[in-house]
Each structure stands twice: as structure tokens, then as C-alpha cells.
Point group: C3
């Protein structure tokens, strides 16, 4: 038997199976610097310890890490066990961010298989997992459900279990985690870089984030390795040159972080990602593509017991090689997704109120 890990195939999973993922990861200010270099994020909370201090979220003089950085590290741990033989990463649901993560924290990930279903072709099927990322104290830092289409090793193999879980449309405002200690009395919108507060956004409002950013092979590979994500399609031009697209595919999370960074221009006070309600990598992205993004405000929610802080549910759409002044979403037939759309992401942020 080879000592190299070939990953799990569909028939290797069992409903209720709990998988402790390898390679705990201590995150540091080195990761923070690379995140800034790769995405250019400007949200003040993760940029400046002084700003974090001013709203009660500094710890030992340090700012918390960007929420998506935390998501990527946790996601990366799951790849060797869950999606090494995946055909596609299909969706996310029920994602919540927990306690903030600081330089020096060590993150680990555990997944539970909550759904399994063979496709009618018997070549592939769906695996649903709920993944929980924790810090070195066991506190939840992020949890989410994702489902992937996974190959079978043997098309004739049967599945022990078959179940499709019921997933929530969105995370309820009452279930969002407000970071302990957060106080907004000294929140400075000039430092944060935006005059617009929760009160200034309305459901249905659309924002073109204007800027475009071209992706290079070296960038997405450095990012994906930084998250210790081992999915082969991102790294191996030798094999991908013979594959479906002839090129390396970019990790969907790289696109997500670029779109979130672009969204600063219009959503500068969205200082905290609180939930991932859903999301879809609608089309593949490749090196050389220029990404643009736009947002739609889906819902504005109050938070229990907080008059200083509200939640905005947002749709974040990223397009390749297509500026977003016209908010591209649907194809000409009005039903399919516009082929320029690469990401359609439904998430919830926290924002100060007036």
C-alpha cells in the first residue's frame, strides 16, 4: 500500500462520521501581512491595532485577523480529507464566525458528515459536511456547511447511507456572534474610510465597487499554499494542461477574498463578517482574469440588545473581465447565470449604527 494519501472517495464516507483534520496552524502577523499583500484589504479593524483597541477588540495590543483569513485556514485543513477527489465545490450554508482570532492563536478543524447522496450516473455523488474551526482553547472561530461533488473509487460500490440535509436559507440575526467586548462609542469613520453607517443602507440598494484587479498565477498559488490547501487543480499545470480547461483553476476562496477587498469601496464600515448564508462559485476563474465586484443589500436587521450595531445581509457578486456598473447577474435568457459571474455569495456583516 502506498504511504501517499489518495484522499477519500464517495464510498469512504459514512453519515455521522467525525473527521479530525490534520495540521493545526498557528496564525501570525506574517499571515496578516501576506493577506494584505494578496488582497489589499483596507478594513481598519484588521489593519490597525489602535483601531481594534478603540472598539474594544484588541488583545495584547494586537488587532484580530480578517475573518476570511480564518475561514481559508480552516477550509484548507479539510481539503485532504473531504475534497481531494472532488469534481466541484458546490455550495456553502449556515456559516457563522465565532470568537475573533489573533496572531499567535492555533486553529484546528473537525468535520462531521451530515449528508451523502449518489448521483444517478454512479460515478460521483454529494458529500455534505459541517466543519467547525476552533482556536487553541477549543472556542469556535468559524463553522459552516459545505457540499462537494466527489468521485467514487469504484462505480459499482454501494453507499452505506443516503441523506440530503435540510439547510437554512440564512443565519438568523439572533444567532450571529457579536465579538465580546465590542463597543462602538469611539468608532471613527474617518479612520475607517467610509461615512456610511448601517442606517444609510437600504434593502435592494446596489453598489458597484468600481475597481478591477487582475490575478496572477504566483498570487493565487501562494495564497492557496498559505492556507495549506492541497487541491491539485490549483497547482499542477502539467496535469491541468490536459484537463477540462487546459489551465490551473483558482481557489474559489481567493476570488472571495479579492471581492471582499474590492467591496471596501462602498462598504468600508462592514468591519466584521458574521455569517455565510450561502454561496456559489458560479464559474471558474483563471490567472490573467480581471475581477470586478458589486453588492446588493438583501436585508437590514437589528441585533438583540444592541442599538449601536446592526447586521446587513449582502449579496456579493464577482465578475471576470466585466465591469459591474450594470450589476451583471443573469444571462440573456433571464434565467441562467451571466457567464461573467464567477461568485455569487450571500453573507452578513456587522456595521455601526448612527
Amino acid at each position: 500500500m502506498s504511504k501517499a494519501n489518495a484522499g477519500n472517495f464517495l464510498e469512504d464516507f459514512r453519515l455521522g462520521q467525525v473527521i479530525r483534520h490534520a495540521t493545526p496552524r498557528t496564525v501570525t502577523s506574517g499571515d496578516v501581512a501576506l493577506y494584505t499583500a494578496l488582497y489589499g484589504s483596507r478594513f481598519a479593524l484588521s489593519s490597525a491595532a489602535t483601531f481594534a483597541e478603540s472598539i474594544g477588540l484588541a488583545r495584547e495590543g494586537q488587532a484580530p485577523l480578517d475573518d476570511l483569513l480564518v475561514f481559508h485556514v480552516v477550509f484548507g485543513k479539510t481539503v485532504p480529507d473531504i475534497s481531494l477527489n472532488a469534481v466541484a465545490n458546490l455550495g456553502y450554508a449556515g456559516g457563522r464566525f465565532g470568537v475573533p482570532v489573533y496572531p499567535g492563536d492555533t486553529l484546528s478543524a473537525v468535520s462531521t458528515v451530515i449528508g451523502l447522496k449518489e448521483n444517478s450516473n454512479r460515478q460521483t455523488g454529494l458529500v455534505y459536511v459541517r466543519t467547525t474551526g476552533t482556536n487553541q482553547h477549543g472556542a469556535m472561530v468559524v463553522e459552516y456547511v459545505r457540499w462537494v461533488m466527489v468521485r467514487k473509487r469504484d462505480p459499482q460500490a454501494g453507499l452505506a447511507d443516503s441523506e440530503v440535509p435540510v439547510l437554512p436559507d440564512a443565519v438568523a440575526a439572533a444567532d450571529l456572534v457579536v465579538p465580546p467586548g465590542l463597543t462602538l462609542g469611539a468608532y471613527d469613520p474617518i479612520q475607517a474610510g467610509s461615512p456610511f453607517f448601517w442606517d444609510d443602507y437600504a434593502a435592494g440598494e446596489k453598489i458597484d465597487h468600481v475597481d478591477g484587479i487582475t490575478i496572477e498565477e504566483a498570487e493565487h498559488m501562494m495564497a492557496t499554499r498559505l492556507w495549506q490547501n492541497t487541491a491539485r487543480v490549483h497547482f499542477n499545470q502539467y496535469s491541468e494542461s490536459q484537463g477540462r480547461f487546459g489551465r490551473r483553476l483558482i481557489y474559489g476562496g481567493h476570488v472571495l477574498s479579492l471581492a471582499r477587498a474590492l467591496s471596501f469601496n462602498g462598504l468600508g464600515n462592514a468591519f466584521r463578517v458574521a455569517a455565510i448564508n450561502g454561496g456559489r462559485h458560479a464559474n471558474p476563474t483563471f490567472a490573467g482574469d480581471t475581477l470586478f465586484a458589486w453588492s446588493e443589500v438583501l436585508e437590514r436587521s437589528e441585533l438583540p440588545g444592541r442599538s449601536d450595531l446592526g447586521a446587513l445581509r449582502l449579496r456579493l457578486v464577482a465578475c471576470r473581465n466585466q465591469p459591474c456598473a450594470a450589476f451583471p447577474l443573469r444571462a440573456d435568457n433571464g434565467r441562467d447565470t451571466d457567464p461573467a459571474v464567477v461568485l455569487d455569495f450571500d453573507y452578513t456583516v456587522l456595521m455601526p449604527r448612527r
Copy 2:
């Protein structure tokens, strides 16, 4: 009104206007590592805590950051307010570095508009700003004047003010900041990597820095994002492919840091940049270009009250795709700049004396 920031146009500026720039930034050892990876700098002071300790400049066991790293972070903060609609970044003057910056410090920037002038075409004009970067204690870390050519939103709009400031040719030696605590009794030129001290340089001397370094798109974009510089021309191949050059332009500061790193080979004891007297990005630089650099010693100055330390005023010239053994500067007509020259920079360094 769109919530995305479109930047200021010429008619939006007022003489004397004070602009507090967004996004304070905590710099860390992550930034230091990236600076080394991007530029390959070998100046011992920012490379080793032990070396910094030996000359009295370590703080809590850490070396100070490279001076140009500090400049780039402060410069980056000013872009969304000053130069988002700039046609060109025309020059620098009167720049001084103040207290050294250490990992963990948080930098902020404030600019004052000190000059405004419309061009005769009424489409554009000049904006002069004095920018001051400070650390979390309010101490000046770098200050400088720069001027940019900025578009008007409306060619018919008038300007409230018009004034061209008088700028100094160079920063006087008496105005240079010597970092507090600096002592050179234990300065080790073997560790520093150069046997040449202040006394060994003569005005008029030229040094070819020999080495060449080719620039990649991923590198200059990672650098420019690291400084949270949002100028569009550096990132968006989709729009630049239709622009003047058909390609992304490289941030001039990236060229400056590469040239400074190349200058180590001949100026290894120039451990501290003390002043930016002037500077010009003479021609654009693109990915794929190979940079070379040469220096000329313009002036050797004593420093008040210091017999261990002197100032060298240097001209640093960077060329693209042109080795510098012949010290290229002027075009064949003897008047224009050689088209290979991309940077002509006048700055002052501190160097130990024998």
C-alpha cells in the same frame, strides 16, 4: 449617490485644506519579511536585531523597519484622497525621516494642501501636498511634499485658490533627524557588508551597482497592495489594456525600493535614509523590465555635534533594460532624459565616519 469613493478632482481641493487619511496601519515583522522577499534588501540595520542593538537602535529586541517601507505605507494612505484621479505623480521635495518605526507601531497620515494650479488646457492641474506620517504616539516618522497632476471633474469649474509653493532644493544637514540613541562605537563593517565609510566617498564619485533585477506582475502588485495603495493603473489589466501603454504601470515606489536595494552593492554602510530632497519617475516601468541602478555622490556633509556620523547626499538613478556601467542619464541631445532612465532620485543617507 454612489457609496463608492470616486476620489477628489482638482476643483475639490482647497489651499490649506487638511486631510486625515483613512486606514491606520500596524506594521509588523510580516511586512519586514515581505519587504525582504520583494526587494532583497541587505542593509544590516533592518535585517538583524543584534546589529540594531549594537548601534543603540533596537527596541524591545527588534530592529527598526526599512525607511522606505515606512515611506510606502504613509504614501499608500494618501492615494485614495490625493491621487486617485491623478494623471502623473510629478515630484517630491523636502522629505525627512523622523523617529524609527518598529514592528507593532501603527502609522497614520495627514496631508495639507500647500499648492494648487490649473493647467492652461483646463482639463487638469497641479496639487501640492505636504504629508506627515506619525506613529501611535503622534511622533513624526516621515514627512514630505509631493505634487501630482490631477484631472478636473468639470473643465468649466473654477479653482478657489491658485498658488505654487516655494520648495527647498534639499534638506539642510542641520534639519536631518539622527535617531535618538544611535551610537557607532560598536559598528561592525564586516557584518554590514561594506568596508567603505563616509570618509571614503567624494562628491562627484559615481558607482555602478552592477546587478540587474527583473520585475514580475505578481511582485509589484503584492507590494503595492501591501502599502494599501489603490491607484488603479497598477492592478487592472482589463482597463489598462485599453490605456496609454496597454499594460499595468508599476508603482514608482516599487522601482525606488528595488534601486535602493541594488545600491547596497557599493553603499552598504548607508544604513539610514534621512531625507528625500527630490525625485522624479522619469519614465514608466512595466513587468518584464530588468532594472539596473547607479549612484552619484552629490555632497558630503558633517552633522552638527557628531564626529562619528556623516551625511551623504546621493543621486540614485534607475534604468530599465540598460546596464549602468556608463552611468546613463541624458539622451543623445544632451538635454532630455535618457529614455532608459525610470527614476532620478535625490536623497540623503547617514553613514558612519572613521
Copy 3:
């Protein structure tokens, strides 16, 4: 005389000469993050402070650095003195890793010339150096012999000395440094990501590491600059376009670190590199190449006084644009090296025993 360093030529070296290399270097968590981004390493010991703590190797709450990161930093320091005028880096021998290195440590390097021999063409010759890297307390962190072919400045010049040193085939198990404090009672193979211990490997066993990784120009140049390695062939496309290969050559250590990271898949519990017995960069590697790797277990050795820990001597072979399921090594003639092989490396790791 030019103040730029032209490097040493063959006739500049003397047998027994001791060279203190410039530019001490403080390594930080920024270097660790970049190492992960560049190579995607997943060995748990350098990934997580908690894991390091569990086996007695954390210091002030931090994990030790990857051993090869330490090697690259020390190697980089030697380049300006030893190999700036090298035609080729020919081999390694007698390498040992000493005390672990932690973020905040400052590394320095000293080399002794232990061999010199002119080639019959009188244009070039061999220089053998023993290099020792130390931390800020003077403790050895890595030491090794390497030999390079170096140009002569003047073909007519004579050599003061001529001697070819006798080099060991391998480092004996009794000479390996086991990091002080190492205890394996709480070693968790699930966190480490591999169920295979020292006992499970047998001499002669070959492991295909399966995955492939494509190299970009920006990546190898950022890495090589991070190690402050100034060898010109890696950076200057302008001059290399006129050279032997028409392209920039990739630093052999970059290939080594990629191959070691690939080897995680099959050798996940090889948490510590203890020795470099030998090694050869068999062929050049260029940007765009996809690297694959395989390993052969050469020898399994007990360690004096340790029943919890053993040593594995491994051959690590990296190939360009050639998957390694067939363990490529020899060319069709059965004697020469397969032209796909770029690295043939003989090293020793520490691994837990059952």
C-alpha cells in the same frame, strides 16, 4: 577601484581561510508565513505552536522554524563571498542541523575554505567550504560542506594551495543532533497527518509523492531574495536572455524546499531534518516547470539512548515535467541521470517510533 563587490575569484581563496559573512538576519513569523506560502509545507512541528509544545519543542509559545528555511538563510549569506562567480554549485556533504531556530533568533554564517583545486583548463576550479550557521548565542544551527566551480579572474594566476578534502558519505546516526527537550509521549499522528511511523518504513522502499507543483518566476525570485541570496542567474532576465539557457535559473534550494513539501504526502511524520548527507542539482529548473518528487528509504537507524525516535536516511528525487510513479532516476543508457531529474538529495530525518 569600484566600491561594488565583484565577488571572489578562484585565486582569491586560501586553504584554511575563514570568512565571516555579512548581513546577520533575524528570522521572524513573517519568514515562516512566506515559507508556507512559497512551499505549502504541512509538517505539524513548524506549523503549530501547540504541536511543538506537545513534543517539548516550543519556546516562549512559538514553534521552531522549518529546518530548510534555516539552511537557506545561512546559505544565502555565503553567496556574495563564495559563489558570486560560480559556474555551478556542485554538491553538499556532511551537513547537520543543530539547535532549533525560533522567531526572533538572529542567524550568522562563517565559512572555512577546506579545499581548492584548479581545473585543467585553467579557467575555473573547485572551492570547498565548510559553513557554520549560528544563532545569536553562538550555538550551531546548521553546518555543511559545499563545493562550487568558480571562475578565475586571470587564467594565468597560480593557486597558493591545492587540496581536495575527504568527505563523509553520510552523517553517522551517533552524530545527529536530537533537539534538547524533545519528548514524543504525546505525539499525535492525526494532527501530524500521517499514520506511518519509523517502524513502518523499510530500506529500499520507494514512495511516489504524487502531487505536482508548477513554479512561477515571481515565486522563486521572492524566495531567493528572502534568503538574501544574490546569485545573479536567478534575477536578471536581461543578461540571462543572452546566457546558456536564455532564462533565469531557479535557485536549487527552492527546488529542494518544494520537493521536501511534496514529500509530506508519504512522509508526514518526518518532522525534523537532521542531516544532509549529500546532494546534487542534477539539471537546471526554470519557471513554468512542474515539479514532482519521489523518495527512497536508504537506511533505518536507531538513535543512541532513544527508543521513541529513529532516523531514516532518505533519497529525495525531484523531476521536472515528469510524474514520479515510475521513480525516474537513470537515463536510457542506465548510467547517466534521467534528464527529467533536477535534484538527487540524500538526507536524514527524525521520526517517532511506535
